[in-house]
């Protein structure tokens, strides 16, 4: 899609662009590149870059507690450096001292299925796990253990001695048995192909029509029908 003409409608389009960029920046866990934003918003990278610079200046001018910054080739929100003491207090408070459910599930997959690549883990969890994996590596619970032989030679991850120590285990053999609930090989295959069945759909006996879901993006709709 090309840039819209500078017509009377441009203000609305500008507003929509700015709001959509803010929404995408809010939900991203890693810095999001100008190129990806441009693709998602269907405008040129130059325009996105200008928009982000403008937004960052606006947050600065309105004295927000967060900033929009460009790091590692992408844009992301982060807390204003001034306010680090509050964030530290929050972190130390212990409220965030537990692994999030997302992190725990990711760690569990690595523990039981290692070695695993990030792509394989992401396929099972149905979400990008880069941020979570970085946390787990930084905490020393998982580490690189080798490379896939296949094309791309993806980095493979496994759990560390620290992980065993923290859980009070001598070896991986002492992990609780999965027992009767282990899904069969076919399920793994389906999962690893990204065809993660929605567990609740197992009970679905109803048509997909009745609640205005039609407005959801095609991608989401596809997920549902699988």
């Amino acid at each position: 899609m090309t840039e819209p003409e500078p017509t009377a409608g441009e203000d609305d389009r500008e507003r929509e662009l700015r709001r959509a960029a803010e929404a995408l920046l809010l939900v991203t866990e890693d810095p999001i590149t100008v190129e990806l934003l441009a693709q998602l918003l269907e405008v040129s990278a130059e325009r996105i870059e200008a928009l982000c610079v403008e937004l960052a200046a606006e947050y600065d001018a309105t004295d927000r507690g967060f900033q929009l910054v460009k790091v590692a080739g992408g844009w992301r929100y982060q807390t204003h450096p001034d306010l680090a003491p509050y964030v530290e207090r929050y972190v130390l408070d212990g409220q965030s001292g537990r692994l999030s459910n997302a992190a725990l599930e990711t760690l569990a997959i690595v523990a039981y299925k290692q070695p695993m690549s990030r792509a394989q883990i992401a396929a099972i969890r149905g979400v990008n796990v880069d941020g979570v994996m970085r946390t787990l590596v930084q905490r020393g619970y998982v580490d690189e253990v080798g490379r896939d032989h296949g094309p791309g030679q993806a980095v493979l991850y496994g759990t560390t001695p620290t992980f065993l120590e923290k859980l009070g285990l001598n070896s991986l053999d002492e992990l609780p048995a999965l027992g009767e609930f282990v899904p069969g090989a076919d399920v793994y295959e389906a999962l690893e192909h990204g065809l993660r069945p929605d567990p609740l759909d197992a009970d679905t006996t109803a048509p997909v029509d009745d609640d205005g879901d039609g407005e959801r993006a095609p991608d989401a709709a596809d997920d549902e029908s699988e």
Binding site: G97, L99, S100, P183, P197, A206, P207, V208
Partner: protein, 262 residues
């Protein structure tokens, strides 16, 4: 799983009853038997691609419908027993209040779906704290047990609930559909046609009648017999039509029905 979007798929006997009564505007006791049979067979056919738990639920639908309908089909001995009459009304009131309750929560669920869909349009921020602060975090596994790790794994990979067959409602059945079918196969070719009342004249217990009725439905489903009912609420005539094209009786189907023998 394939989901048919054109016609409703029923989740339980109440679902089907509600549908029959409300959507179709029919009177369960006036609806022609063939309609009930068709609905039953159509549902059962669609169940073949679904899981065992669902199939069980649908057999429960069928059983419920057949039981209700069979009350009307039982030979009327003329004398109305007041106790029976009262019991029937009581049963109806119970069913009525359950249907009303079921309908209430069905409608509440629709409203909740709307709320959830609206809420689903917003995505929360989950990025957490910046990496620079992570070093401050205490041991994040301190409160985690190996069992929690296992649960997390199962949560991550579990694609669907483990199917389980619900058999509480059928523990009383002592006669099997297979037996009843065998008896009918022995008798019907000789006499050609008979009313359902005649076919059940020697039976004492209501359950036996219900099972005999199931057997009739099975034979009808597989094309061995024809069913005739001239008037609504009139007597049901069973007509022997002989072997269908594939002349083997599918005993697997019968075994399926009889799996509730428990």
């Amino acid at each position: 799983m394939a989901v048919d979007v054109e016609t409703p798929v029923f989740q339980g006997p109440f679902d089907l009853l509600l549908h029959l009564i409300l959507q179709d505007q029919v009177d369960l006791y006036e609806v022609r038997l063939s309609d009930i049979v068709d609905a039953y067979l159509a549902q059962l056919e669609r169940l073949e691609q679904m899981d065992l738990e669902l199939a069980t639920e649908f057999l429960l639908i069928a059983a419920t419908l057949i039981e209700l309908k069979s009350k009307r089909l039982l030979p009327d001995d003329g004398d109305v027993d007041l106790d029976d009459e009262l019991a029937l009304w009581e049963e109806r009131d119970l069913l009525l209040s359950r249907l009303v309750e079921c309908k209430t929560f069905k409608d509440a669920a629709v409203a909740m779906a709307t709320i959830a869909n609206e809420a689903g349009r917003s995505y929360p921020r989950t990025a957490g704290v910046d990496q620079q602060f992570l070093g401050l975090l205490p041991d994040m596994l301190a409160t985690t047990t190996p069992d929690q790790l296992r649960d997390a794994f199962l949560r991550a990979v579990e694609p669907k609930p483990v199917p389980r067959v619900h058999i509480d409602h059928i523990h009383q059945i002592r006669v099997t559909v297979t037996d009843a079918v065998a008896e009918l196969l022995d008798e019907l070719p000789r006499i050609g046609r008979a009313t359902f009342a005649e076919l059940t004249a020697d039976l004492v217990e209501r359950l036996e009648v219900v099972v005999r009725f199931l057997a009739v439905l099975e034979l009808y489903k597989q094309g061995w017999i024809d069913l005739q009912q001239v008037n609504s609420l009139g007597s049901l005539t069973v007509v022997w039509t002989g072997r269908p094209d594939d002349d083997e009786l599918d005993l697997e189907d019968l075994a399926f029905v009889d799996a509730y023998d428990g």
